[in-house]
Symmetry: C2
Subunit: 197 residues, 2 copies
DNA sequence: TTCGTCATGTAATGGGTTACATGATTAC
DNA sequence: GTAATCATGTAACCCATTACATGACGAA
């Protein structure tokens, strides 16, 4: 059972619990607020995931505060263990298809605060080249086809292309910002080589 | 087995084959060009789908032209049967969640040429209200949360919202165009009530 | 007391991918 | 002749949903 869990949900759960301990129901709402424009999870996937994380020792039930009457336990609040934090760090460090594909990019981005600057940059660039590849594929495939498309198909094509182009521009801005920050930190380190991090 | 097939792929296949007969490999390329910006199908889903459509009598293998040497059959070209055309019409007529959700809207839109004006309008409006609902949910959930979000989360949120808003504006334009056309056809029918269609 | 929503969970199902296996055809 | 790509197909797996079952708790 260990290690066979899905990356997206696992990251989403561990990342959320790292910020503050939560119970399943609330966790789902939080995730669906965080990622609501892109995707939504259901209880049917969340609870089994929590169960798996629990048996793998990545999360534990948080003890209720003492002023709560004993024997009552309707909410089960989970928090990360040391192994859980380690695992989260591991997930946040890997930059690869699993971090820039459609289903996963949003989650990775949402936890960029906890991600190293270098990794952030590689994920953003990976996502951008993924999108550029997609545009290129469609464009060449379209060029090879001599059938002219009807107006609806054309409009769909145009809108899809425009959306992807917009995301690429967005990524470009983010990448520039990241690079500028990296340069700034670098020059600051150059000035005061004794400073921390 | 009959009737248990998935709607999205089924519509995609029937719709494509209606425009012209194709074999599986080419069909996939065509679909992935048509919908490449939104999604992509693999052989592992296409071939079983074709198989199912075949056994259900919605498609048949097209006889090769006589000038082809007999005994050779590397490509299997499929075309719609009468039942297939009927089924396609049925799929194109239904306006409901299955036609305006993320996974299916693109396919339905791509075949709007074969869809009645009234159904087109209902699908576009359905999609729009689906997106508006999504925005509303996220907004109210966000309003209930008092934790302030970090800049990355905020940026993701902003970008997601903007994307959805853009699609809504796009839909608004399409709906206006559709309505204008409907009005025009209507007034033309009023002028010449003996005309066809 | 009853209704809504909070809260946890499971079983069946769905819809798809990946990886694999196989072979024909084309271009060099 | 050999590499690339065209072409078909299957089995194992994955990830998540839907529908269901259960029950606590607060407000009307």
């Amino acid at each position: 059972m260990t290690g066979s869990r899905n990356g997206v949900l696992e990251l989403a759960v561990l990342g959320s619990l790292h910020e503050n301990p939560l119970h399943g129901y609330e966790l789902r709402k939080r995730l669906n607020t965080l990622l609501g424009m892109f995707r939504a999870f259901s209880y049917g996937s969340l609870y089994p995931c929590l169960k798996g994380l629990l048996t793998d020792g990545l999360i534990v039930e948080e003890e209720p505060p003492d002023d709560v009457v004993l024997g009552r336990r309707s909410k089960i609040v989970y928090k990360l263990t040391a192994e859980g934090k380690e695992r989260l760090q591991e997930l946040l460090t890997q930059a690869g298809p699993s971090s820039w594909e459609d289903e996963s990019f949003g989650i990775h981005f949402a936890f960029f605060r906890h991600t190293e600057a270098e990794v952030r940059l590689r994920i953003l660039e990976g996502r951008r080249s993924r999108l550029e590849e997609r545009m290129e594929n469609v464009r060449t495939a379209l060029a090879r086809t001599r059938e002219r498309l009807d107006s609806y198909t054309l409009e769909l094509q145009r809108h899809g292309l425009e959306s992807v182009e917009r995301e690429v521009r967005w990524l470009n801005e983010l990448i520039n910002t990241e690079r500028a920050q990296a340069d700034k930190s670098q020059s600051e380190r150059d000035k005061r080589p004794d400073s921390d991090e």
